[in-house]
């Protein structure tokens, strides 16, 4: 009996539908979508970007004999997409990642326009990542260009890409929480209200923020056929090209201004002696070498030192940290190396991404996106229990629900790092105690290796889940 599952989040495009079959990612195309696909698959830019890895490898599915005929009968054609190793969403990306996805969006739009096609929408959810490479996945977004029509995706580009980037670059406010709170992105009128007089002089603000907000308000209840009016007046795709080209230049110049001194402190704040740090690296490396790992999650990865060690013997590593500055730096370092096996993400383990969207199925909560074989939880648990005030037993149980094996570090209350957290606080954390920690760990796991670092306040554990 063949098994297929319809992707519940794939309903917005009425002309196609994503479904999964035996691990493969398939897409049913309606008649219109099939016509667009036929045009797309013969376009030069499409093969070029696919070959370079910026568009998800896609082809017409050949052998449909195993697929339920209920599916194949419903659609005019079926495409097969390469699967992405780990799904992520724009509210988990750092500034650099959103910027690079925005640039790819504009580049693909311009390339399509050259061959009489257009990217009809500009959702940031049309992009995924393979390592540090952005990949466009929403193939049916490519449609035949209708001459005289404006670019329908422009407003969405502003809401999902431009305004979040402006928020960080111009106001030094992280965009991730806003995007998580509103999956359609930032509304032009709301963003316009944030702009000060000084901001109006910044590149792109007057045109793309202020005017858009004003015109959105002005035309919000219009009965007029604006689209038809524009076409009759001679709207031309050269105008889309002009806009997209200037947007490219604008986005390229956007940078997250951050003090470099902030960053240089990172290397120092790990506060380990050199010997201790080397010993920790060796411990992690020994555990990583025990077997080949498929998927590894590094929770609280900070600068990614241990994600890199895990990647030495793993297919894919997802490096997560709540500190988006750390992720930004990790992203740029990995990007410079052309790394394709580590995905950096902004993620607060104490408040990880939840189910979002219609029926809570459009965007998936973190635990639903993968089954890691190995979890790294180094220098994290004191933040979870003491800063985030989450019971230690609960946290260890949560870890055990995620993955099979675990490398975890326990730092005692005698340690300087923990003392800093407890300063000016009443110590209500009775559960934060090594004996109790080992007890909780032993409930779900078998502790295989245990090591005490020289400082005497830091302990490393490698554990495997009990079968």
């Amino acid at each position: 009996m063949t098994h297929h599952a319809i992707e519940p989040g794939s309903f917005r495009d009425r002309k196609s539908r994503v479904f999964y079959h035996d691990g493969a990612v398939l897409r049913g195309l309606g008649k219109d979508a099939l016509e667009a696909w036929e045009m797309l698959s013969s376009a030069k830019f499409f093969s070029r970007y696919m070959a370079e890895g910026y568009v998800i490898p896609t082809r017409r599915a050949e052998d449909l004999s195993q697929v339920d005929s209920a599916i194949t009968d419903e659609w005019a054609a079926v495409l097969e997409h390469k699967a992405v190793p780990f799904i992520s969403y724009p509210y988990e990306w750092c500034f650099g990642m959103l910027k690079d996805a925005a640039l790819l969006q504009l580049e693909l739009l311009l390339a399509a326009l050259e061959e009489d096609m257009i990217l009809k929408d500009s959702s940031a959810f049309n992009f995924q990542w393979i390592g540090t490479k952005p990949v466009f996945i929403d193939i049916p977004s490519f449609e035949k260009l209708n001459e005289g029509e404006p670019w329908a995706g422009y407003r969405q580009f502003c809401q999902m890409f431009l305004y979040p980037l402006f928020l960080q670059a111009y106001k030094n406010i992280p965009f991730q929480n806003w995007l998580r709170g509103n999956i359609d992105g930032i509304d032009p009128e709301h963003f316009s209200n944030l702009m000060s007089l000084r901001d109006f002089l910044r590149p792109g603000v007057f045109m793309h923020v202020y005017l858009q907000a004003k015109l959105q308000a002005k035309y919000g209840s219009t009965q007029a056929d604006i689209k038809g009016g524009l076409r009759r007046s001679g709207f031309h795709n050269a105008m889309i090209k002009a806009n997209a080209t200037r947007l490219q230049a604008l986005v390229r110049r956007l940078n997250w201004q951050r003090s470099s001194s902030e960053w240089s402190d990172y290397a120092k704040t790990h506060s380990y002696t050199d010997t201790d740090f080397q010993r920790k690296e060796a411990f992690v490396r020994e555990a990583v070498r025990l077997q080949r790992w498929g998927l590894v999650w590094d929770l609280g990865c900070n600068v990614g030192a241990f994600s890199r060690i895990a990647a030495e013997n793993a297919d894919y590593v997802v490096a997560m940290d709540a500190d988006h500055l750390a992720i930004e730096h990790l992203y740029h370092a990995l990007k410079a190396e052309g790394n394709s096996s580590i995905l950096p993400l902004v993620m607060n383990v104490a408040d990880p991404s939840p189910n979002l969207g219609w029926k809570g199925t459009e965007r998936k909560a973190l635990p639903l996106r993968g089954n890691p074989d190995l979890l790294l939880c180094l220098a994290l648990i004191h933040h979870i229990v003491i800063s985030a005030n989450i019971p230690l037993g609960d946290f260890v149980e949560w870890l055990s629900s995620l993955g099979q094996s675990l490398i975890i570090e326990f730092i005692t209350k005698e340690d300087r790092m923990v003392k800093t957290l407890l300063r000016n606080k009443e110590d209500i954390y009775r559960d934060y105690e090594q004996g109790y920690f080992e007890q909780c760990l032993s409930r779900a796991y078998e502790i295989k290796h245990r090591e005490r670092l020289d400082s005497g306040t830091r302990f490393l554990y490698f554990a495997r889940k009990r079968t």
């Binding site: 404006p150 670019w151 329908a152 422009y154 407003r155 502003c158 509304d187 009128e189 007057f206 045109m207 793309h208 005017l211 858009q212 004003k214 015109l215 959105q216 308000a217 002005k218 035309y219 919000g220 209840s221 219009t222 009965q223 007029a224 604006i226 689209k227 009016g229 524009l230 009759r232 007046s233 001679g234 709207f235 031309h236 050269a238 105008m239 889309i240 002009a242 806009n243 200037r246």
Partner: protein
């Protein structure tokens, strides 16, 4: 050139600054009109062509009185 564009647009926009937001009905049309202004010189030319009567009406020039300011149909 940029200053001229700025002035024209500010005049037009300030006419309607008091509009309430009805974005929930149709948030897309405003962005379509904006694309004319973002579309280089060709786009600006079309924008002026479409909204010339509105703009000249501000100064009491042109063929007749402007219609009520609530009207927002693009001129043909």
């Amino acid at each position: 050139m940029k200053t001229l564009l700025f002035c024209i647009v500010m005049l037009y926009v300030s006419l309607f600054y008091a509009s309430e937001s009805h974005a929930y009905l149709d948030p897309g049309s405003g962005s379509m009109v904006l694309q004319l202004l973002l579309g280089g010189l060709a786009g600006l030319a079309v924008f002026l062509k479409l909204f010339w009567r509105k703009l000249t009406g501000l100064f009491g020039l042109g063929k007749g009185k402007n219609n009520s300011s609530g009207r927002d149909t693009a001129d043909r």
